[in-house]
């Protein structure tokens, strides 16, 4: 559940850190048991997700379609390990359901489905879909002068999809200050480094040139994430892009910044070793 509005900073970041650790451990267990998943991206996103759900966003998990809720769109829909873990932890569905990850007839598909799972706003999986949909949600809020915020998390390799840049134009044109994009900038896509595939740098300049306000943070630093994501957007007059510098596989030494863990799955030995480190 969301934290109080004005918590002591240390208490809050301590809470977020504990949740992030839980997300890493639980998602890795899911991937190990299913022998499928995308653990490297789960780990690069874990701190961002924990900060959003346990520090920043306004929601009631028992009313997942409340019109006034803050929205979160998981554009990097392949990282369902971390996404499902945080949704369960936030109370959208029982934590026990996580044990069904990718089993036949499970609600926990490899990519999220809003018709099965409360807390999922739109079905993602193909890349470059989250930001355009989130732009539409933010426009609805703007038309109604509603005060909910819309957050969307993309991978960085995903920004090679042109659809993102279409909606980047639209969001800036409409001055969607209620829209926040977080880029999980782990610099690794499925097969190689982004800069060795189709370069994104200088990424901050690109978003600025498109008319966005840009902040760059350490995507594993909960205080930095909290500060930039919880700041009121009112009066900014621009959508916000937070470039969160992260590491794929963050938290486990042998997975750290290692492209083979994009969709690598652990052996029993690797699983036990990782769990010893994730404490």
């Amino acid at each position: 559940m969301p934290s109080p509005a004005t918590p002591l900073q240390n208490d809050l970041t301590g809470e977020i850190a504990a949740q992030a650790l839980w997300i890493r451990r639980r998602s890795f267990q899911m991937v190990y048991e299913a022998q499928q998943g995308h653990p490297g991206g789960d780990f690069s996103a874990a701190d961002i997700l924990a900060t959003l759900y346990f520090g920043v966003m306004r929601y009631d998990a028992k009313k997942p379609r409340d019109p006034g809720r803050d929205r979160f769109v998981m554009s990097k829909g392949h990282c369902t390990g971390a996404f499902y873990a945080v949704l369960a932890r936030a109370g959208y569905f029982p934590e026990a359901d996580l044990s069904t990850y990718m089993e036949p007839l499970s609600k926990l598909n490899g990519h999220p489905n809003r018709n099965y799972l409360p807390g999922v706003e739109t079905n993602t999986g193909p890349l470059g879909h989250g930001l355009p949909v989130a732009t539409g949600i933010a426009i609805a809020g703007q038309l109604d002068k509603a005060d909910f915020r819309t957050f969307v998390l993309t991978g960085d390799g995903e920004l090679q999809e042109g659809s993102n840049w279409e909606s980047a134009l639209t969001a800036a044109h409409r001055k969607l200050e209620n829209l926040t994009l977080i880029v999980d900038r782990n610099r690794l896509q499925q097969g190689a480094r982004t800069e060795d595939t189709a370069s994104l740098d200088p990424l901050d300049d690109k978003w600025r040139a498109f008319g966005w306000h840009v902040e760059t943070v350490d995507g594993h630093d909960h205080a930095q994430l909290f500060d930039v994501l919880s700041a009121s957007p009112k009066g900014r007059g621009k959508p916000l892009c937070v470039i969160a510098n992260t590491f794929k596989g963050k938290g486990v030494s042998f997975m750290h910044d290692n492209v083979s863990w994009h969709h690598g799955v652990p052996s029993k030995e690797q699983y036990e070793l990782a769990m010893q480190e994730l404490v």
Binding site: E121, P132, A134, T135, G136, A146, T170
Partner: protein
């Protein structure tokens, strides 16, 4: 609300009915918004823009964002009518239609304008004779192909009233208002039988319906009793009407679409698995040469004599 006035010679542009209906619906329901991709004029939405300037979202020439923004607006409680040329809103944004609209099962209305070969001379890039084949694969996406101004207005009203994803294929080709019995109603998934007949059934939709009726009248003069069904909803199909059509022993389908995977393909899927009878699918074979829409209809037999010929040949195959 009624269909808009005829343009000339008693013929109508169904886009006028779309525009008049959406404006009237928007008066009554503040959730209704329109989403366009620099397609205000081609969608005939200038009047809507003047009446509801804040309720039109123009994303620019960006069809992926066009469709996705529709999904997002639905998430925010709006009832978006997303309108653009049918060739682009389907082909260019097909994955958004699949994932953001159909698979996500959201309350978005997609309006495919100037469908078929309406942009005749502009060529196959601007023809939309593949749209139904593509969209028919998304099982929960309702597909409606209205045949005239009244049915266009009714389809738009039905789409607004239905809570879920709908695609309405709107034509800019001049069509007459079809004669219907007093009190005729439109319902998604329910076909209408416009002419009764017992020797053969012509199943058509959109701009082909009035041509099918003309062919049936020609055939009647020869003593052939042809039933004419307007199957405006391609998904879900009115399978009872198709089963009844098979009882006449022969079926000819006619559509302003490719012969691959559209209305004819849909009807054939039902016929082949229930009561196989001789069938013929009339439409375009694929990419077509340069020519006006009317020239293309005539060249590919999508006219009264062409349909009548196909019917005669199909009846000849009856056992």
């Amino acid at each position: 609300m009624s269909a808009a006035a005829p343009k000339k010679d008693g013929l109508y542009d169904c886009r006028d009915s779309f525009a008049a209906t959406i404006e009237a619906l928007a008066e009554a329901d503040s959730r209704i918004v329109t989403v366009v991709s620099d397609s205000v004029g081609s969608s005939k939405l200038g009047g809507f823009r003047n009446k509801f300037p804040d309720r039109m979202v123009n994303v620019g020439i960006a069809e992926q964002t066009l469709v996705a923004v529709g999904a997002g607006l639905a998430n925010g409680g709006k009832v978006p009518f997303v309108s653009a040329a049918s060739c682009f809103i389907t082909g260019r944004a097909l994955e958004q239609v699949k994932a953001d609209i159909a698979y996500s099962n959201v309350n978005v209305k997609l309006i495919g304008q100037s469908s078929g070969v309406a942009y005749g001379e502009l060529g196959p890039t601007h023809h939309s004779i593949e749209d139904l084949a593509w969209l028919r694969l998304f099982n929960n996406l309702k597909l409606i192909v209205p045949a005239d101004p009244w049915q266009t207005a009714e389809a738009i009203k039905a789409a607004a009233a239905y809570d879920g994803p709908v695609f309405v294929r709107v034509s800019r080709m001049a069509v007459p208002a079809l004669e219907r019995p007093e009190g005729a109603k439109f319902e998604i998934g329910v076909a209408e039988t416009l002419l009764e007949g017992t020797d053969v059934t012509i199943i058509a939709n959109g701009t082909m319906v009035h041509r099918a009726i003309a062919a049936a009248r020609t055939l009647a003069a020869e003593g052939v009793s042809a039933r004419v069904v307007n199957m405006a909803t391609v998904n879900p199909l009115d399978e009872a009407v198709i089963a009844a059509a098979a009882e006449t022993g022969a079926i000819v389908t006619v559509e302003e679409h490719s012969v691959r995977g559209g209305l004819g393909g849909a009807v054939a899927e039902v016929v082949i698995s229930t009561n196989p009878v001789p069938m013929r699918i009339l439409g375009f074979p694929g990419f077509v040469p340069t020519g006006s829409a009317e020239w293309l209809f005539d060249n590919f037999g999508l006219n009264e004599p062409g349909i009548a010929d196909a019917v005669r040949q199909t009846i000849a195959r009856k056992k």
